[in-house]
Amino acid sequence: MSQKEENSDYLNNLKNKIGNHSSFEVPKGYFDSLSNKVGSLIEKEALEGISEVNSKAGFEVPKGYFDTLQEKVNTKKSEGKVIRLFSLKSLSYAATILAIIGVSVFFLTQNQETSINPEIETRLLAANLSNEIEAFENIGVTEFFDNISTVDLALDDEIDFEEEVNIEEVIEEDNVVKEIIEEEITTEDIDIDIIDFSEDFELF
């Protein structure tokens, strides 16, 4: 059935008279300038987003921190040049491993009345460490993609996300995501330690 057949005579006559826009008007040159207006809005939003991310990124500092920072730096400068033996990244890995081992030793010694063969204990620690690291890595990746989903959901009403997202493809195609994840979970030294421990398993 055509639209004309669906309409009453009144509506058909009216349509012939008023056309598709009814009798609404717009200011002269409105559509010539609309894309510039939208462009400015987008640029403004983008700049606001960038300045917000750059300025704080969600972190806070103690009150008055920046008032005393210059003084602190000057004091350090006058103490002489500090030579860093390890990179901060290496130190953070080492600190994480030590903390996990420490906590594991604490719980193992608290919960077990009988003494354990030191080598078994080492293996248990290694297994525990491996689980901890795996959990840490998985949480990191999951949270990252949770955040992406949150952004996408803002437009969920407009976009029909019927296709499931293949996480591996996303990582492969998105260099930024790839770099973040690689930086977060590449811990070659730790992996080597774990492999070494498991190779000794046959001894028992």
Binding site: L11, N20, F24, L34, V38, D157, E158, I159
Partner: protein, 182 residues
């Protein structure tokens, strides 16, 4: 020759996002504007809503799937923005018959509406329809859209949309010929 949706999306995916977006706006801004304007009536309100619509489109264009249609996708964003606007501004959006007449008369003063009494009556009749029915009527009556495409914008089956349009026509007819709402 008018740029195709595929050309717009290719430009966007090749990193020429701004050029692609400009072409998208040039192609669709007027159609999308009238879709909004017929719902909100005032030019100033339509101007706000269309800007929000295209800002959302810009943000979502990277996620746009090529098996969809840019035209209906934009209409859907515009519809959501329009309904959001109307819900936020119930008092201004012409919820009563008298308010519609008042808004249109005021638009006449600014030369943003040049319709005669019969058209004011049509818009008054439209204001008596539920929002979804009004959207369906507008897209069918003014835009000559296919029911398949209307379904992509507001949801529903083709059958339900046909019924909705039929009811809208009957209600409008009753209002303009007999002055009654049914």
């Amino acid at each position: 020759m008018e740029v195709t949706d595929k050309e717009i999306l290719t430009l966007f995916n090749e990193g020429q996002e701004n050029l692609a977006f400009n072409k998208l706006m040039q192609k669709y801004q007027e159609r999308v504007y009238w879709h909004i304007r017929r719902m909100v009536l005032r030019h100033e309100d339509a101007d706000d809503v269309i800007q929000n619509t295209f800002v959302k489109a810009w943000k979502g264009l990277g996620n746009f799937r090529e098996d969809s249609n840019l035209y209906t996708w934009l209409y859907r964003i515009a519809t959501n923005e329009t309904i959001t606007f109307i819900n936020k501004n119930k008092k201004q959006a012409g919820t009563s018959i008298d308010e519609v007449a008042h808004i249109l008369e005021a638009q006449k003063d600014d030369h943003y509406f040049t319709g005669e009494e019969i058209e004011i009556k049509l818009h008054q009749a439209l204001s008596t329809l539920p929002e979804k029915q009004r959207l369906v009527f507008n897209m069918k009556y003014f835009d000559d859209m296919k029911y398949d495409d209307i379904a992509k914008v507001v949801g529903g089956t083709v059958g339900s949309l046909k019924a909705s349009y039929f009811h809208a026509v009957k209600k409008i007819e009753a209002f303009v010929t007999k002055g009654v709402t049914i």
